[in-house]
Amino acid sequence: MNRAQKMAWVCVICLSLTITAAFPVLLIHFLVGTPKALYVAVIPWLGLPLSGLICLFIPKDKGKVKRDERDLMIRKNAAHAGFIGAFLFTCFACMIPFFILGPKTVISVKWLPQIWFGTSIAQFFFYSLTIIVDYGRAGKGEKS
C-alpha cells in the first residue's frame, strides 16, 4: 500500500465518522431547536482538519520513482470524481431548501459556511474513495 492509498484510507475513515456524527447533531438542532446546537455543529466538521493532520504523519514513499503514469491517471480520475461529488452536493444543498421550504422563505446565514464545509468534505471523500477503488482494496505490489 503506497502513501496515496494510506492517506485515502485515513480520509475515508475520518470523513465517514464526520458524516455519521453530523446526523445526530442536525437531529438535535431540529428537534430541540436551541441556538447552542449550532455551536455543537462545529464538532463534526473537525474530521476534515483531523484527517489532514494524520496524513502529515504518514511517511513518504521510498525509492527513486515516487509516482508513475498509472498513479497520475488514478489521481486524475479521483480529482474528477471529487469535483463531481462536490458539485452534486452543492447543487442539492442549494436546491433542496428552495424547493422544499418554498421560494418565499428565508434561511439563516449560518447555514452558508455549513454548506461550504459540506462541499469540502464531499470533495475529499469522493477523491479518497476513488483512489481506494481505482488502486483496488487488495495490494498489487505497491510499496510504501
Binding site: 463531481i84 458539485f87 452543492t90 434561511i107
Partner: protein, 149 residues
Amino acid sequence: MNPWQRNAWISLLFFAPLFLIFGQLPILLVYLEGPSFLHLFSFACSTIVGGLLWLFLFFFNKKLKRTGTTQFDERDQLILIRATLVAYVVLWLYFIAACIYTWLSAAPERSISVNVMPMVIVGGIVIFLAVQSIATLFQYGFRRKGEIS
C-alpha cells in the same frame, strides 16, 4: 482554429450567456407560480448537465479512440485538463466568496432568501464555463500554430 478552440469560443459566447438566462428562468417561474415537479426537474437537469458538460469531452474522446478517428491528442487533453483545473479553482474562490463572505459580512442573526442559493449555483456554472473557455483559448494561443480544423 481546431474544433476544440471553436468549441471554446461557442461555449464562451453562446453557452455561458444562454445558461445564465435559462438557468435563472426556472427560479423566476418557481418564485411566480410556486414550486412544482416540472420546475424542479428542469432546474436539476440544467444545472447538473451544465456543470458536468466538460466530462462529455473525455467520454467522446474515449469513444473516438476506439474507432481510431480521434482528433483529440495528448496536447489537447492536457489543455482541457488544465483549463478544467483553472476553472475549478476559480469556482472554489467564487463559492468561498459567496458563502463565507456573506456569512462574515452579515450579522449572525441575519437571514437570506432561499432564492439566492440556486442563483449561486447558476452563477457558479456560468463562471466555470467562461473561465474554462478562456483558459482553453489562452493555452492554445491566439495565433495559429498549425492546428487543422
